[in-house]
């Protein structure tokens, strides 16, 4: 059973490639609705594959049912690793001090209890809906970000020639040309994939389990919370990808739009609370946000970073100190252009009756509304284009106002 994967970090493992960044390559700089004011907007979309536990990232500490449901991994405002209070109700995971600072500076916002229109719990289909922008899975081979790009009016010519990275995420695939970039390193399977495979081998093929474990140089002593970030690990890789992307986007003729994906958020077992596996990954994400900020320099002022995931996780922890596939979760916005310092949420509450299907945080905000609000604020796309082309059949999901 995958749910029983021992949660061990391979401390002696080599560096990992979590995902490259892909960019929109523009032959022309779009004329923005507000080009006159001298803004030169940037947009970065970060996809977290595996379904992020929104309740552990931005915890509703003020909800009386939260601590009981999230049990051993619940965040708290006190203790050895207190969560960072964002307001009187929500608290940010302590592994994200950079995001907390941006939030205090009003350059970051959280949207809580959010979901795409997808209501089943398959990673594959959930990611398909999240990235394609369609209401259901498997309908199209292009992404909403690419279609948004196509809808922009053309302005002056800019040159951009970037290198090849791994694959373009679906969100950025389509008719508008894109280019990719990835850190030049030997791309390797990430720890999570390796662990799942070792677990499968343990059940089905012990000889291969031993061989692969040795090959991966499992450090038998590294168990549980012993996950100190080390050079060359996942966290460093996330920062590296972000740094490279920011550098390319900072130049005057560089791409204005980027998408990238970080893997590993499927925390079925030993998710950890203020420290542990999720904390480790969130630290990496926090570092990536900081790299965007410093790497984009002057351009950060006009930047929005959207962090989204295919769905959330169960409100109640499972029997292995993790969480299973759920529905409602968070989206994060960061960047100088964000009207931040807020947790935007029509909070549904965590009483059993209020949970989606009696198990998940109920989504009260359509993620498409959030993204539409960002696209409109940054690039001036019309309601009609957003509802027909970018997110087909989404008239009911109105663009959220005042995000940018």
């Amino acid at each position: 059973m995958i749910d029983c994967v021992e949660n061990r970090l391979l401390t002696s493992r080599r560096s990992l490639l979590l995902g490259g960044a892909s960019f929109a390559a523009w032959a022309y700089l779009p004329k923005f609705a507000r080009a006159a004011d001298g803004r030169d907007p940037r947009l970065i979309v970060v996809i977290l594959r595996g379904a992020l536990d929104g309740l552990s990232t931005v915890a509703p500490i003020g909800d009386p049912d939260y601590a009981g449901l999230h049990g051993s991994i619940a965040l708290a405002a006190d203790g050895a690793h207190p969560a960072i209070m964002l307001d009187s109700f929500f608290a940010l995971h302590p592994a994200m001090p950079e995001l907390a600072r941006m939030y205090r500076d009003k350059h970051a916002a959280v949207v809580h209890a959010v979901a795409t229109p997808y209501r089943d719990r398959s990673h594959f289909d959930g990611q398909d809906v999240l990235e394609s922008g369609y209401a259901g899975p498997g309908r199209v081979q292009s992404g909403w970000l690419n279609r948004a790009l196509e809808a922009l009016p053309r302005g002056e010519r800019v040159s951009s020639a970037l290198a090849v990275g791994p694959t373009t995420p679906l969100v950025l695939r389509g008719n508008a040309p894109t280019v990719g970039w990835a850190p030049v390193a030997l791309p390797q399977a990430d720890d999570d994939t390796a662990m799942r495979l070792v677990d499968l081998y343990r059940h089905r093929d012990p000889a291969l389990a031993i061989a692969l474990s040795q090959g991966l140089q499992f450090d038998k002593a590294a168990v549980g919370d012993d996950m100190k970030p080390k050079a060359g690990n996942q966290v460093a890789q996330m920062r590296q990808v972000a740094r490279g992307a920011a550098k390319l986007m900072a130049s005057d003729d560089g791409p204005r739009i980027a998408a990238l994906a970080f893997d590993g958020w499927d925390t079925h077992a030993n998710e950890g609370g203020p420290v542990g596996r999720l904390a480790f990954l969130l630290g990496g994400l926090d570092g990536a946000l900081a790299e965007f900020e410093s790497g984009l320099g002057e351009r950060w002022r006009d930047t929005v970073v959207v962090v989204a995931t295919e769905f959330g996780r169960t409100a109640r922890i499972n029997g292995t100190d993790g969480t299973d596939h759920g529905t409602g979760t968070i989206a994060l916005l960061a960047g100088g252009a964000v009207k931040g310092g807020r947790v935007i949420s029509d909070w549904p509450g965590l009483k059993l009756a209020n949970l989606h299907e009696g198990r998940d945080l109920k989504p009260t905000t359509d993620l498409r509304s959030v993204i539409k609000g960002v696209l409109q604020g940054q690039f001036g796309l019309s309601d009609r284009v957003l509802a027909e082309t970018v997110f087909p059949d989404s008239v009911t999901a109105k663009p959220m106002q005042g995000l940018v």
């Binding site: 059973m1 995958i2 995902g19 892909s22 594959r49 595996g50 379904a51 398959s122 990673h123 594959f124 990611q127 081979q141 292009s142 020639a161 970037l162 290198a163 090849v164 990275g165 791994p166 694959t167 373009t168 995420p169 679906l170 695939r173 389509g174 008719n175 040309p177 894109t178 280019v179 990719g180 970039w181 030049v184 390193a185 030997l186 791309p187 390797q188 399977a189 999570d192 994939t193 390796a194 799942r196 495979l197 677990d199 499968l200 081998y201 059940h203 089905r204 093929d205 000889a207 291969l208 061989a211 692969l212 474990s213 040795q214 090959g215 991966l216 893997d263 958020w265 499927d266 079925h268």
Partner: protein, 515 residues
């Protein structure tokens, strides 16, 4: 008709190269009639030969390599005349070998070429990412390929495409088996590299469903083998050339014929037999660039180098009949009981189990003896034996089989061999380039080693990252194993956190790794 998915796995993976994805229906067809599915390829014998545009004969390639070497020599001399002494010229760089190819560069190249391949179906618009856009940390521009490298890649691509498109792949597996049994190594030198593919096409393929004795003769008379095991240097001590040049025997080929190609170690031959056979095959050579003995690059019998007189070999006397002396000796060795035993053992070890079941070995040995080395009968007997179908799937796929099976499942016909060649290098099975004349090993101990498994996973993760977004991993699992897949494998794939991860896990699953 009852469908037996487990038997389909045996048919496709143990004997073939794995189920093809897409609309092939391979798994269903194999499940309906497992033995018939495998045997169908034995009937269509013509499908073993490989002819494709751009594939040239050994002779043509010999001429090409001699011409290339002449050019290099001229360029070097011209450079020497022009440059101050001590400056190495570009021409002095060894052609045919990549220099300073780091692991990272190789792997990055693997990754890059996996991207270049176009999806077989055009449902998805290929990424507009241009592989020729210069990365920030670009590799230096590659030198244009010389004729040796180009030929090697053309031959490799033809082989890979054939393997990817074959229905079951049993005959291609047989080709690979015999090619490894009678291996040469492309690392021996420029001639070996340019001839590696032609050797397989000319000496192995025509006989894979023919007679062992014919394959043996074709192999030992092929210029690539004569060059690989130094027989062109071997002179009869009492031959005219031996007397003139005060040089003599080189036993390399004679020893390997008996030790590796026919009788096997402990097969009943002595050092005297090795020496005798070496004498018998003196004069077996190929014409060089001057063409004094014949068309450059063709097999010739040089009587000037041939040891005169009768020879005693394995208790039998061979009269001095020139070329026929050696041909008679090979025919006799091919019929030797030790040869039947050695071949049957190796055959069963390759297809069925690292520790070959003695009963099945005995059965195949008898077929080999009874049919005078009919290799089609040998293959058919294997397919007809219940034991070959009942034995658990414990064999580890070699890197080549793993990569080809992955490509088949993903329904991607390679257009460039680079990704495969680099992956094979990384995984320790460089194409046509084993470390020694005994070929690549054929056991789990070799292919399921820790480092190899880790690298396999990295390569699978690469394929997952690149190709995963466009596939449904559960559909692929149906193509690959259907209900013969274990519940754990199915769950692992269902629960993967992304399509990319799911594809990597599927490619690494026991169902894809074992055969």
């Amino acid at each position: 008709m009852a469908r037996d998915s487990q038997a389909a796995l045996v048919a496709l993976n143990r004997f073939g190269l794995g189920a093809r994805g897409g609309a092939s229906g391979d798994l269903i067809n194999a499940a309906s009639d497992p033995r018939g599915f495998v045997k169908a390829e034995l009937v269509r014998g013509s499908g073993v030969l490989l002819e494709a545009p751009g594939l040239q004969s050994t002779q043509q390639l010999g001429l090409a390599v001699f011409a290339y070497q002449d050019q290099v020599k001229q360029a070097r001399e011209a450079a020497k005349a022009a440059a101050p002494a001590g400056t190495p010229s570009p021409a002095e760089q060894k052609p045919g070998l990549r220099r300073n190819l780091s692991l990272n560069a190789a792997a990055t190249e693997v990754a890059g070429q996996m991207t270049e391949a176009r999806p077989a179906d055009n449902a998805a618009k290929p990424d507009a990412m241009q592989p020729n856009a210069a990365p920030p940390a670009a590799k230096p521009a590659p030198q244009p390929l010389n004729v040796i490298q180009k030929t090697f890649r053309t031959e490799a691509l033809a082989r890979l495409q054939r393997a990817t498109l074959a229905t079951c792949g049993f005959t291609e597996r047989l080709v690979a088996f015999w090619s490894n049994h009678f291996c040469i190594s492309a690392t021996k030198g420029e001639l070996a590299r340019i001839w590696a593919g032609a050797f397989e096409r000319e000496a192995i393929r025509p006989h894979v469903l023919g007679r062992f004795a014919d394959m043996l003769r074709a192999v030992e008379q092929h210029p690539a083998m004569l060059f690989f095991l130094d027989n062109q240097q071997s002179l009869g001590p009492d031959s005219r050339a031996g007397q003139n040049r005060k040089r003599g025997l080189n036993e390399n080929l004679a020893r390997e014929i008996m030790e590796l190609h026919t009788l096997g170690v402990g097969g009943g031959y002595t050092q005297d037999d090795v020496t005798s056979l070496a004498r018998i095959i003196t004069g077996w050579t190929f014409a060089g660039r001057q063409g004094q003995l014949g068309t450059p690059g063709s097999f010739v019998f040089n009587s000037n180098a041939h040891q005169p007189g009768a020879q005693m070999l394995l208790g039998k006397t061979y009269e001095p009949t020139g070329l026929a002396q050696g041909e008679a000796a090979l025919a006799e060795i091919a019929r030797h009981p030790s040869t039947a035993n050695f071949i049957a053992t190796k055959f069963v070890r390759h297809f069925v189990a690292d520790d070959p079941p003695p009963g099945l070995v005995a059965q195949l040995r008898d077929v080999f003896v009874r049919t005078d080395g009919d290799l089609k009968a040998l293959a058919a007997a294997l397919i007809d034996s219940d034991e070959a179908w009942k034995a658990p799937l414990t064999k580890m796929r070699s890197p080549y089989d793993f990569l080809v099976a992955s490509g088949r499942l993903l329904a991607r016909v390679p257009e460039d061999p680079g990704a495969y060649l680099n992956s094979l290098n990384l995984l320790g099975q460089p194409l046509w380039s084993p470390a020694g004349p005994n070929g690549f090993p054929d056991t789990g101990a070799a292919w399921a080693a820790p480092e190899g498994m880790k690298l396999r996973l990295d390569i699978a993760a690469q394929m997952g990252a690149r190709l995963g977004p466009n596939i449904d991993p559960l559909d692929l699992l149906e193509f690959a194993a259907a209900d013969a897949a274990s519940i754990e494998t199915r769950r692992t794939i269902e629960r993967a956190e992304s399509r990319q991860q799911a594809l990597a896990l599927l490619l690494m699953s026991p169902e894809m790794q074992r055969r």
